[in-house]
């Protein structure tokens, strides 16, 4: 099941001076349990696309089905938004309640759950993002550090127990340590809750480490998609559309341009090392 889009098109303010087509004939399928990395420039349509997944936006033309619900003007948005959790960029800016627990329970409450259940879900969600329940639950969210606030915001969406979790640049503005920690939590949450995960990012490197598949967007369409390896091996094309390729991929491409026969689909330092060793060994035997 999960997400299927067919010729999905979205035009903002059609018929006015501000008319802009943000999505053009997007076709994609996301299967249950996948971790998808959505990559693209500012303006490539990634934001517009993910807002379709939970019904904040609807297609101008084409079709979109998410977890069995067709996203149209008549869709049951409440049901859709319980199944699809969307975490925006800098989600800590949406916190408002007097205590952390109350804020995280906001989502379940809106679903109509009784107080007890809402609070229970809130507690589970807070634990899932790695926060010490007793230390934070009764504090004001605004007393926490930036990184903690972000995790509270993510817990707020998790508490709705969605089947699909979409995060727009979840590590934006975080330092390296916090970035790694958060990605680890997301990986664990994905496994424990058996979710489908969509992570929007500018950093191909960061997402490639966890994603099963990458979707690369450019000018409102899907430019390419595949496993991280498959996508990285098209490095030159990615550079041509102005995307930041990970430095190790850049290195492999540069070596290739020098005439070196080396694999370019390396995802991390270990693989780069292996690829270079392979090359050198190959050279030695040829000598």
């Amino acid at each position: 099941m999960s997400i299927t889009a067919k010729d999905l098109t979205h035009t903002y303010s059609p018929g006015t001076t501000w008319e802009a087509t943000a999505l053009k004939d997007v076709n994609l399928t996301i299967d249950d349990g996948e971790i998808i990395g959505l990559i693209g420039h500012t303006g490539s349509g990634k934001s517009t696309l993910i807002q379709h997944f939970n019904g904040l936006l609807r297609p101008t033309s084409g079709a979109l089905t998410v977890q069995g619900i067709e996203v149209t003007a008549h869709a049951n948005l409440r049901k859709l938004r319980q199944k699809v959790g969307l975490v925006f960029q800098y989600p800590e800016h949406q916190l408002f309640e007097e205590t952390v627990l109350a804020d995280v329970a906001f989502g379940p409450k809106n679903l109509g759950l009784p107080q007890e259940d809402s609070l229970r879900r809130a507690q589970t969600a807070l634990a899932a993002v790695g926060l010490e329940l007793d230390q934070v639950k009764d504090r004001s969210p605004f007393e926490l550090s930036g990184g903690q606030m972000r995790r509270v915001a993510i817990a707020g969406v998790l508490a709705m127990e969605p089947e699909v979790l979409i995060l727009d640049e979840p590590t934006a503005g975080l330092d390296p340590k916090s970035r790694n920690e958060l990605m680890e939590h997301l990986r664990r949450i994905h496994k424990e809750r058996d979710l489908t995960l969509v992570i929007v990012s500018h950093s191909m490197e960061e997402v490639a480490a966890v994603a099963h598949r990458l979707l690369v967007m450019d000018k409102g369409s899907i430019f390419t998609q595949g496993t991280p390896r498959q996508v990285f091996s098209r490095g030159e094309e990615l550079r041509a559309i102005g995307l930041d390729v990970p430095p190790l991929t850049k290195l492999m491409l540069a070596l290739q341009r020098q005439g070196v026969d080396v694999a370019t689909d390396v995802l991390n330092v270990q693989e780069a090392r292996a690829a270079i060793q392979q090359w050198r060994k190959g050279e030695n035997t040829n000598v």
Partner: protein
């Protein structure tokens, strides 16, 4: 140009629960240097940044800018004019509804005559390559463009030193590139002293000197090469080392004759294809 002498800074200084953000920090910044200050959130780097132009005054020790102490009230405004500061959030630095009006804000505060302000505004906008946008509304610009306008606004005050506190943290890759290139050019061509605070290691490779902060103190410093050679220590401090540098180090362990301090892709290619 700037001397930091045995400085300690406490937040909520009069309180029992005071927090020591800086511990006996001592350093000198020379004119024309491009210094990168790296460290994770909470290491004290942002606090240090605000000491350089007197936005914060240390409780212990002192900061001297061109010989003038930041805690000297008479030198207050002179120091702020000489050491300009650009902050993290591009939006929260722009106050006018038209770009050139915003850039004029600083010179207007300095009480300069109108013609000179106009001249400086045009010059500063050219320096950051945004002159074409002078009559635009700031809120319609991209993050990278906004930051460049903020930089122009500081340049219009003709400072000797530019302190940038995580200027690219909220920008996309293109914006980051724009801002870094602009500032590097100012340092290279106009001799601007630059203090670049960040937690992106790849930005620090271009600096003349790198200072690594942890727990309120400078724990490591040197040229980028010297600092990034210490990859184990950096990783213990939960900081990244550029991927190429790490690769160079593991390949060296494998027996390849490679320097331990490769910083860029180009260097690596050269080293491997020798």
């Amino acid at each position: 140009m700037i001397k930091v002498e045995n400085v300690s800074y406490y937040y909520q200084a009069g309180d029992e629960k005071r927090i020591q953000a800086l511990k006996d920090v001592d350093m000198t910044i020379e004119e024309g240097e491009f210094v990168a200050i790296i460290g994770h959130n909470g290491s004290g780097k942002s606090t240090l940044a605000k000491l350089f132009n007197g936005l914060l005054i240390p409780q212990e020790g002192r900061v001297l800018v061109q010989g003038q102490a930041t805690n000297d009230e008479d030198q207050y405004w002179s120091i702020r004019q000489q050491v300009g500061m650009v902050f993290q959030n591009p939006d929260n630095q722009l106050i006018a509804t038209v770009v050139e009006e915003d850039v004029a804000f600083g010179p207007e505060n300095l009480g300069l005559p109108s013609e000179e302000i106009l001249e400086r505004v045009e010059q500063s906008l050219s320096q950051v390559d945004m002159l074409a946008f002078r009559r635009h509304a700031p809120h319609l610009l991209s993050g990278g463009q906004k930051q460049r306008i903020a930089i122009a606004g500081i340049l219009a005050m003709r400072p000797k030193c530019l302190v940038l506190d995580e200027p690219t943290a909220m920008l996309d890759p293109r914006g980051r590139r724009e801002v870094l290139e602009t500032v590097r050019r100012l340092n290279r061509e106009d001799g601007m002293t630059v203090l670049w605070i960040t937690h992106h290691m790849d930005e620090a490779v271009h600096a003349h000197r790198v200072l690594v902060m942890e727990g309120g103190s400078v724990v490591l410093q040197g040229t980028p090469r010297q600092v990034f050679r210490q990859s184990q220590q950096l990783q213990q401090l939960n900081l990244d080392v550029p991927a190429v540098t790490r690769l160079g180090q593991v390949l060296a362990q494998d027996g390849y004759s490679l320097p331990q301090d490769i910083l860029t892709v180009e260097e690596m290619v050269k080293a491997l294809c020798r």
